[in-house]
């Protein structure tokens, strides 16, 4: 029924969520999940810029031996803040809160998330948390590393309490987002959409939300204890007061390991969507991918100790955690196989989102496989706390999550803003970013396995060339990002109007116009298999895809 109202690039923009009202209040106090998603997007991109500039400062400092542009104290602060900003302010809220907020209700065919006021509260908490974190930077920064290990963090005289307070507030923001998603997926699915009829992105967001709800409170209490420790000298983590610093690490990693999956799971959801749509083929092994998301969420709580193999954790626990760690590698491997098999005999369109998805598989493949070196006890002892870990982490978090975030951003961009971007520049910059990334971090793998410790301001001669190469790679990456920023801004201003369904997806969010109306759908969307492309046909006249009427559908 709703197939005939396909917008055909009308001359006048029809009313949509962007132009239905205006003014600061209509945005900052909106309950519309789409506007909240867009505000989140703008905020995290700003944070990504800050974190990225810090990354460039780090690489520039390491360009040459000794002091290059800053003192060692400044360097320590910059890498701490790079980590804290990127993790707490960019990557954790990145996909779920920005993209997820936008697409989750649309994918369910719902008008909004179940608890819109909580959603807005979550965004406001994010803003407050971000401001508190920025305050700690303005006051002079923090030099503990983003992990805030006691007793260094309890004794340093930098502004640890403020930054941890910020992270504490951000934790609540994250909990509320996750909580909201779980409730929404449980209570707002339309009639006819069972659990196994959901797009895999929703499974991924659901699994992410479970982790957010179950793990984040422990980070909250950890940071709270750290603040109490610093302000009052309570002594639970500080050995000078009889406390146990290794206990702090248990507390911290009980959250922060699952947090890694908060970052990567939604990325996997995006890739599942994109690979299927751009191969125009039903995703291969739907249930395996769905179950593996849940399996990753569950296992993620059992492996935190692999961050502590050399930290003073007992040998018994080291062995148990090593064994459990490998269990979490299997679901990820299964997803890789499924994605590649989905491409088999497909009709593959290499648009920007798909280029990013392929880059994701390349980089995440390296990231995942190098995890095997670190999960294995004997090799981890050698590689722990070296650049090998730094490189591994960035391959998963940047090569995985950030690349997938960019893939998702390009994929849903037409839906979010109703405009297309320059396709050619999109592909070129994706390649530039990937190449720059590899130059930066393969050099770090080599340094790391040769023994270069992480968080070093200075280094011995042996590593000069590799550090130089690594820094050069980071500049290449930066160029790629400026290109992306450039053409996306241009697209906002003057990009061609987007079709309601430019890629040919069968999922519900493409059944409404681009950008969607205020309450998402004019008519209830037709619930269908999100990976069945037989009824989504190319319409040469409008330059996009349309649903063929249901009468044609084979019974």
């Amino acid at each position: 029924m709703s197939t005939n109202d396909t917008p055909m690039t009308p001359a006048v923009v029809p009313e949509n969520y962007l132009n239905c009202s205006s003014g600061f209040r209509s945005w900052f106090f909106t309950l519309d999940h789409k506007r909240i998603g867009v505000m989140y997007l703008a905020s995290i991109l700003a944070m990504f810029l800050i974190g990225g500039i810090m990354a460039l400062m780090i690489r520039t400092e390491l360009l040459t031996q000794g002091q290059t542009i800053m003192s060692s104290d400044d360097y320590n602060k910059v890498f701490t803040l790079h980590g804290a900003v990127m993790i707490f302010l960019f990557i954790i809220p990145g996909i779920p809160a920005a993209l997820g907020n936008f697409v989750l209700p649309l994918m369910l065919g719902a008008k909004d998330v179940a608890l819109p006021r909580l959603n807005l509260a979550s965004y406001h908490l994010y803003v407050v948390g971000a401001l508190v974190c920025v305050l700690s930077i303005v006051l002079g920064g923090v030099d503990t590393g983003w992990t805030f290990y006691a007793p260094y963090s309890t004794t340093t005289n930098t502004h640890v309490s403020i930054l941890t307070l910020g992270a504490f507030i951000l934790g609540f923001s994250s909990v509320f987002t996750g909580l909201n998603f779980i409730v929404t997926i449980h209570r707002m699915r339309p009639a006819g959409m069972g659990w196994f009829d959901m797009p895999l992105m929703l499974w991924a967001l659901y699994a992410t939300a479970i982790i957010q709800v179950l793990a984040t409170p422990v980070l909250g209490i950890t940071l709270l204890l750290l603040i109490v420790e610093r302000v009052m000298g309570i002594g639970i983590f500080d050995p000078a007061l009889g406390g146990d610093p290794v206990l702090y690490q248990h507390f911290f990693w009980f959250y922060s390991h699952p947090a890694v999956y908060i970052m990567i799971l939604p990325a996997m959801g995006i890739i599942s969507e994109i690979i299927s749509v751009f191969s125009r083929k039903h995703i291969f092994g739907y249930r395996a991918i769905a179950y593996s998301s849940i399996a990753i969420a569950a296992f993620s709580f059992l492996v935190w100790g692999h961050h502590m193999f050399t930290s003073g954790q007992s040998e018994l626990m080291n062995m148990i955690f090593s064994a459990l760690t490998f269990s979490v590698s299997i679901p990820s491997a299964v997803k890789m196989f499924n994605w590649i098999t989905t491409m088999y005999k497909g009709s593959i369109r290499l648009d920007t989102p798909m280029i990013y998805a392929l880059c994701f598989m390349f980089l995440f493949g390296i990231g995942g496989l190098t995890g095997l070196f670190l999960g294995s006890l004997a090799t981890d002892v050698h590689l722990h706390d070296t650049y090998f870990v730094v490189a591994h982490f960035h391959y998963v978090m940047f090569g995985g999550t950030v690349i997938a975030f960019l893939a998702g951003l390009h994929y849903w961009w037409p839906k979010m803003f109703g405009r297309m971007y320059d396709e050619k520049l999109g592909r070129i910059s994706a390649i530039i970013i990937t190449v720059g990334f590899n130059i930066t971090f393969i050099a770090q793998f080599i340094m790391g396995s040769r023994g270069m410790p992480r968080r070093y301001y200075d280094y011995v001669d042996e590593f000069s060339l590799l550090h130089f190469i690594s820094s050069m790679g980071s500049y290449v990456m930066a160029i790629g990002f400026f290109m992306v920023a450039g053409y996306l801004v241009k697209s906002l201003v003057s990009g061609p109007r987007a079709h309601a369904n430019p890629w040919g997806s069968a999922a519900l969010e493409w059944q409404t116009q681009s950008p969607p109306v205020h309450f998402n759908f004019d008519d209830d969307p037709e619930v269908c298999n999100p990976y069945d492309y037989s009824r989504v046909q190319y319409d040469a006249a409008s330059g996009g895809y349309v649903r063929v009427p249901s009468e044609v559908k084979p019974a």
Binding site: K111, D112, L179, R187, A215, T216, L225, M232, D244
Partner: protein, 288 residues
């Protein structure tokens, strides 16, 4: 999973006029069930938040039982017990309040909420008395731990043969109890100690029992005590805020069989506050 899909639009027409129904829900029931699920998820996060503190408690209790056995005697069992009863009563009144709201019994609802509020204040009052007592006697965390003379006398009455008048001086009484600082220890000595450590903890505890010495690092107990009860107290405070808001709304007559979710959800929260205290009480006050 067992969630109920509210695809039936039967009710939505009947409740279309309900001003409390938000636009994106089909029915009040869907809205209520969503809120309730959200509340339960939130409560789980609360439990995990306290879980961290229980973890710290468990780790220290397990490894240093002597600290807990010694230090808990400074807590007042009867005040703790009284507070337990107070919270149980408040739980009952809160549950009654929910029931009253569901059945539209407005006077009963107001009364129950007021009683709950009174219990909450009573609880905090008793807590304040306990805190003040500890503050006065230097029974505090970290470096602030310094038992005052009067209290040290009190411990004697509690069957500690020779409670020290000062934490610092205790160490000097028995040279065996003195802990050499860090690197002072010779490696051979270390090896011996590490070797028979299995009994070490028990020995240390025995030692203190027989010599009547205060164990090392008693302040850790008070650190944990203040953090746990403090965080719990903050939750009681938050509860007071929310219940006050409910009370005002109930006086305004907002709640009834069609709309009682806020009372219900606050009730759930309040019961969790009670539930946590049910564990805190025996773990902190009743060690033996």
């Amino acid at each position: 999973m067992s969630d109920s899909q509210s695809s039936s639009h039967v009710d939505s027409a009947a409740h279309a006029a309900n001003p409390n129904l938000q636009h994106h829900f089909d029915s009040m029931e869907q809205q209520y069930e969503s809120g309730k699920l959200g509340m339960w998820l939130f409560l789980v996060t609360e439990i995990l938040l306290f879980g961290g503190l229980f973890c710290a408690y468990a780790v220290y209790r397990h490894n240093h039982p002597e600290i807990f056995t010694y230090a808990h005697q400074f807590l007042d069992k009867s005040l703790g017990g009284f507070n337990t009863i107070v919270l149980i009563v408040s739980s009952l009144t809160m549950a009654m309040a929910v029931r009253a709201a569901q059945l539209g019994q407005r006077r009963l609802l107001t009364t129950c909420l007021a009683l709950t509020l009174a219990c909450a204040f009573l609880f905090l009052g008793v807590k304040f008395v306990e805190y003040e007592h500890k503050w006065k006697h230097g029974l505090l965390w970290g470096k602030n731990y310094e038992v005052q003379g009067e209290m040290a006398g009190a411990t004697e009455a509690l069957m500690i043969p020779a409670a020290p008048s000062q934490s610092g001086s205790a160490a000097d009484v028995d040279p065996n109890a003195t802990i050499l600082p860090r690197a002072a220890r010779a490696p051979e000595g270390l090896a011996a100690e590490v070797g028979d450590h299995g009994d070490g903890v028990a020995d240390a505890a025995d030692d203190h029992a027989t010599h009547g010495l205060e164990p090392k690092n008693v302040h850790l107990f008070f650190g944990i005590y203040f953090v746990m009860t403090g965080l719990h107290g903050i939750h009681v405070l938050a509860g007071i805020g929310v219940i006050t808001w409910l009370l005002i709304r109930s006086l305004r007559g907002d709640f009834g069989p069609d709309y009682f979710a806020p009372v219900d959800f606050t009730g759930l929260y309040w019961h969790v506050v009670d539930l946590i205290w049910i564990f805190l009480f025996p773990l902190l006050y009743l060690i033996d």
